[in-house]
Assembly symmetry: C2
Homo-oligomer: 349 residues x 2
């Protein structure tokens, strides 16, 4: 199996991305990773890999792409001028079937726009959505989407998100009948924006006519995300992005405060022994994008976005996520779901 | 000074609200609280107050309002049929100048709609906004608005939120030049919904023409809310509601997890001694609406919404917030800000 890796665009530079790639290669002996970026720089980074990572060096194959897309590059600029960038080369490798999936820690807006052009969309879906699983109570997790690829989403796009999220939960977590909810400001039918109320109507009609796709549970509120009672929560990308980033910011502040509070009450050594391991694990668990990446859904291929500020471990987990999606052939599952439900949805809308 | 209290509508019933009111009365010897609700029930609750709360019983004045608005009542129903409810009686008491401010733990949508009708809006503002201060790094706090009174907010309404939030930070926290930001999916000018980009343009124009109102800092992302670098962050009510409720849910899950993690590593007794006080304080600090209530801004009077599931302490803090707003005459400050900036804003829009 071969994956395509964009080594540029992460805040930590190619070093972290190549180390994360090497870690994945060490763990999966059948895996080969094509690394797109400035060839000399990649070769230099590979040659500096410590053991045991260096053992996988022969399965990290540099592929020259002289340019890169920066965090401030606009999607429009990337579409016009990105031809020789590592991100476009990586996506083309997926589009041409040379790689089973692609992973990038670069600019999200550019990645969404370029992936849409290079890979194309599954029939019936107009734009990619971004999703990740957030941790919930009772060891459960909840796929939240969209996380920022779509703003001002009309009702039919929210319905698309529901179908894609349900396919994701079925595929990756093996949830037979995912419980899907629509994020709103309250549980009452009279509340919410026009597009959310219309999406609720479409999803209710869809749920009443189709069989076996998912279990539509109506509205959820922001606090319900972490309760473990839904497998998928659907919202416009502006809302999902704000919620996810606020959650990351809050987790980081909370963990810092708990740490300070313990350090002020315990001796430094005792605090380190007792509190730090607990807090470190929690932080990791509760910052899903930084640690596990996010999936671009709706494309005719698999693309995983690793967090921009990711370190080697985060990039390694993003590769793991890409491998899971390859194993379950997620795009085919989503396309199948679309064909099966197309007539119901057309009937409903 | 007299405040008007709606004793109905909280999840914990009138008991918690009357106990919270009594606590405020004990603390402020010049304060009288008119309690609106079923008279016999109020009298019975007052007679059961323990010491030292019972000492303030004479300053808790029952005022009969036989009906109440339930959490599931729609705003439309409340406007049509709410005349004899405790919420409407409380608001009329504020509108008629009998009380300096009103506090309710009831249905938010009904409270917003009824307050708008009974108190009227400050000239130039079309709808109330809901705001609370969320805790941020370095002991700072950040006013977030709107929290759910307005969905699908057009650009000019987001500008209204900025002015009201700035007045709030100046008034309550004494921040001379509040740093105001607009929530978006990214810091780049090309990102975001049409209304957010238009509001950014209006706020930039406003900032360049007006003097001394606030310091407009451009876009913020969800994670910036807790960093302490902004005094006010403005967003549509759908987004603010989702972010705030998700933050509440996450805090509660996080605190639970930290607690479990410590209990599994320490003996129960040691965990109780070390971890519980720290976590309890954190939970309180990080759940601002439950503990401090939220303000309805833009009205010609002061109305504070206490959290529906509040206990006596939470209601007590909501009363404290109302008293602060009375002390600084917040509606007059907002109205003054509007008059001062009206010409600039008209010029900008």
């Amino acid at each position: 199996m071969r994956l395509a890796i964009d080594v540029m665009g992460g805040d930590q530079g190619p070093h972290a991305i190549i180390a994360g790639s090497a870690k994945a290669a060490v763990e999966h002996p059948g895996l080969q990773l094509t690394l797109f970026g400035p060839r000399q720089r990649i070769i230099a980074e590979i040659s500096r890999l410590p053991q045991p990572l260096a053992a996988a060096a022969s399965r990290l194959v540099p592929c020259d792409a002289p340019d890169s897309i920066t965090p401030s590059t606009s999607a429009a600029w990337a579409l016009r001028n990105g031809h020789s960038t590592s991100m476009v080369h990586m996506l083309r490798s997926v589009a041409q079937g040379e790689a089973a999936a692609g992973v990038s820690a670069g600019n999200t807006a550019a990645l969404v726009a370029l992936a849409r052009r290079e890979l194309g969309m599954i029939e019936g879906i107009s734009r990619p959505a971004i999703s990740t699983a957030i941790p919930a109570r009772q060891g459960r997790r909840c796929y939240l989407l969209d996380l920022g690829a779509n703003v001002d989403s009309p009702a039919h796009r929210l319905v698309d998100f529901a179908l894609m999220g349900a396919a994701m939960a079925q595929c990756i977590d093996g949830t037979v009948m995912p419980r899907v909810a629509l994020l709103n400001v309250g549980a009452e039918a009279t509340k919410g924006s026009a597009s959310v109320r219309e999406a609720d109507r479409l999803l209710r009609e869809y749920a009443s006519t189709s069989h076996g796709a998912f279990d539509y549970q109506g509205y959820a509120e922001g606090g319900d995300l972490f309760k473990g009672q839904f497998d998928v929560v659907v919202c416009d990308g502006f809302v999902g992005n704000a919620v996810l980033k606020a959650s990351e910011g809050l987790t980081s502040m909370l963990v810092e405060r708990v740490q300070m509070a313990f350090e002020s009450r315990l001796s430094g050594r005792l605090a380190s022994l007792l509190a730090k391991p607990v807090l470190k694990r929690l932080k990791k668990e509760l910052d899903p994008v930084r640690y596990n990446g996010a999936s671009l859904l709706g494309l005719r291929g698999i693309v995983v976005k690793s967090h921009g500020s990711t370190h080697a471990d985060g990039f390694y987990y993003a590769i793991q996520r890409a491998l899971q999606e390859v194993e379950h052939n997620l795009p085919a599952r989503i396309a199948g779901r679309w064909q099966a439900s197309g007539s119901d949805l057309n009937g409903a809308s």
